[in-house]
Amino acid sequence: MTLEDLRELAEKEQTRQAQFEHRILYCSSAGCVSSGCDAVKTEMKKALEELGLTKKCELVGTGCLGLCGEGPLVFVHSDPTLYQHVDAAAARRIVEEHIGQGKKVQENILDMNDPFFSSQKKIVLENMGNINAESIEEYIAAGGYEALAKALTEMVPEEVVGEIRKAGLRGRGGAGYPTGLKWDIVRKGVADQKYVVCNADEGDPGAFMDRSVLEGDPHRVLEGMAIAGYAVGASQGFVYARAEYPLAIDRLKTAIKQAERLGLLGNRIFESQFNFRIDIRIGAGAFVCGEETALLRSVMGRRGRPKVRPPYPSEKGLWGKPTVINNVETYANVAPILRNGSAWFSAIGTQKSPGTKVFAIAGNVKRPGLIEVPMGIALRKIVFDIGGGTPEGTQFKAAQAGGPSGGCIPTEHLDIPVDYESLQTVGAMMGSGGMIIIDNTSNMVEVAKYFSEFCMDESCGKCIPCRVGTKHIYMMLEKIIKGDATEEDFELLKELCMMVKETSLCGLGQSAPNGVLSTVRFFKDEYLVKLKKSGAPGTIVNQPAAELSPAAAKEA
């Protein structure tokens, strides 16, 4: 395969697509699969055949179209129309009326001018709804693997790293460490073997960005990993994916085979000296494996127990070798940056956090789904313009960002810009991009208990603060909810949370108390009304307790 071959392939595919007057893309992501998109596909195929439209109209499965709650979704590409709640009957009508007679099916149309679509900026998700998720040719026709070709034929590894650094891309897994800096450390490391690892262990409940990207555009991730491999001098890559995502794993396997067949993975890629292979490792249900040192141990077939850092994986990772580890979304950003240049990328978003971020919005919100927005967008815009606010009759209470390790952002902070630093100032974090909207039907102490139960169940048990501390946090919240807790218990809970946060070994333990700490910060009243005044059982007190600081905790 050479660059010319690649372009030829792209042209051939474009010509093939051009011969169809219409192109119907149905969402084939896990969300729509469970809403019944298979039946839709079968019905449409049957209708096309019966009406003799198979030469005129192509039917393909594509990646997530965003509005998962309104599925199954169908997109008519030639005459941009998005249909929602498509069942078998509607599917037949779309084929008969829209494709056959040029009349749109008004009942199922989704307005594409809705802020849900217009407020978004798509880089990572640009191919969703445009290409067949299972076809490498379509990915190539959309400009795929051009960036890899460019890197291999026109750039030296140092330039690739430099470009990523200039673009200012930061890790999309949550912590926001500059990707270029990480790659540079690995590139400079001296070793006979280096590794590139993709963290697709999307453990945060309420997050499905990585799943959607892997299902809808797997080649984008493979291309990003191959570029990373070239940049740092690695010849082996691993994708560590959750076992809970069987469809994503299947698509990924298909994609790897396709890329190998075309020589886009394997030996002497684009006739350079660069060899790169990618293997899949399947997780087995452990949230802690999203932590990078635990993930690497799991890739090596061990218990996913985190290790003390330093040494960081970029110095000593898999089998003690320098290892780049980034998450799915980070790799998905790499190819567009090389294709369009770092200046293009850094102009999007904010200065400190350039680019876009994919969020999965779920919970008590009218339009749950997958979105991609420029960094720095106001949280209010995400919740109300894009998500449509909370269901009728309820009020927005908090947005929970960053998964179980994140925090709850209340109404008064709705105007903060969504970027790494701003979210931290209110005790939340970017996390991998799960955002759960909570309305006034939920009690925040219950929500805190839910998160603490999650952290307790997922603690690996290695360090004492996390292993025993999370258990006691959970038990104390139970006690508060039952109405058996006193003010002293509440103070002790806060002190315990600070201790677990500051002394735990890994990110999971350090952030495990965040759910409690942030609800205590913003919704203290909900705790206080449940407390018993000491010595007077049953009496409800509403006294302000001491602010949460080490000094205050000490006095307690």
């Binding site: 452990a286 003390v308 048990g461 004492i464 025993v468 501390g469 201790m499 905790a553």
Partner: protein, 244 residues
């Protein structure tokens, strides 16, 4: 080899490159409490008792794995650290079924010593009273999981020094347990060589010799350092009698 100068609790100290903060404090008789750490075994970094403050960072660092850098300012005895250490021991006390009065290592127990050291006069958390098993099937030794603090010294010594890898940890989180082979009675383990190293390194009374009565079981842990030094450096004279 370059020498690094840095400050621990307002005093200047020098360290060889590669030394950890804990090594320097031990060499200089500065006491930092530890539990999972044992000379001669790999560092585990899990008990978090040895955490110290380093100026310029809000985070806490385990002394057993952190290496000093030039001019680093380390504090080992601040109020915050004392408070947290006490709480860690408190958590341990609530986690297992620790009844010192009837324990074979009463008076010679590292957990008990830690409790004295951090001033643990009462436990504010509810006791968990877990259902843990006692395994007396081995002909010489007993494993009482009620007293186990999951420091994994036994796991490490068995794998790293004896090479048998009888022990490992099963389960996750609060349900973690030390198990022999396929979670089978110790006495039926095919891999155990009955060398007794695990018993001697155990900080509490979780592993003890049969026949020992209350308070009778004393352990000598410096021998691990001796074996490792003998093996790796050919130092055959037993000098390591430091009990920490």
């Amino acid at each position: 080899m370059s020498v690094i100068t840095f400050i621990i609790d307002d005093e200047h100290y020098s360290a060889k490159e590669g030394d950890t903060i804990l090594q320097v404090t031990r060499d200089n008789k500065i006491h930092i409490p530890t539990l999972c750490y044992l000379d001669g075994l790999s560092t585990f970094g899990a008990c978090r008792l040895c955490v110290v403050e380093i100026e310029g960072s809000p985070k806490l660092f385990p002394a057993c794995t952190t290496k000093p850098t030039e001019g680093m300012i380390v504090r080992t005895k601040t109020d915050r650290l004392k408070r947290y250490r006490r709480m860690i021991v408190e958590l341990l006390a609530s986690e297992g079924n620790h009844q010192c009065a009837v324990c074979v290592v009463n008076g010679h127990c590292e957990l008990q010593n830690l409790a004295y050291e951090v001033g643990l006069d009462h436990v504010r958390f509810p006791y968990l009273f877990p259902h843990k098993s006692l395994d007396a099937t081995h002909k010489e030794f007993v494993m009482d999981r009620n007293r186990c603090v999951l420091c994994t010294r036994c796991v490490r010594v068995c794998h790293e020094v004896e090479g048998a890898h009888v022990w490992d940890i099963a389960g996750r989180g609060i349900n973690c347990e030390i198990i022999a082979d396929l979670n089978q009675p110790w006495g039926t383990s095919e891999s155990c060589t009955s060398c007794g190293k695990c018993v001697r390194v155990c900080p509490t009374g979780a592993l003890f010799e049969k026949g020992a009565s209350i308070g009778e079981m004393q352990k000598e842990r410096g021998f691990i350092k001796f074996i490792v030094n003998a093996r790796n450096k050919s130092e055959w004279v037993h000098t390591a009698h430091e009990e920490e």
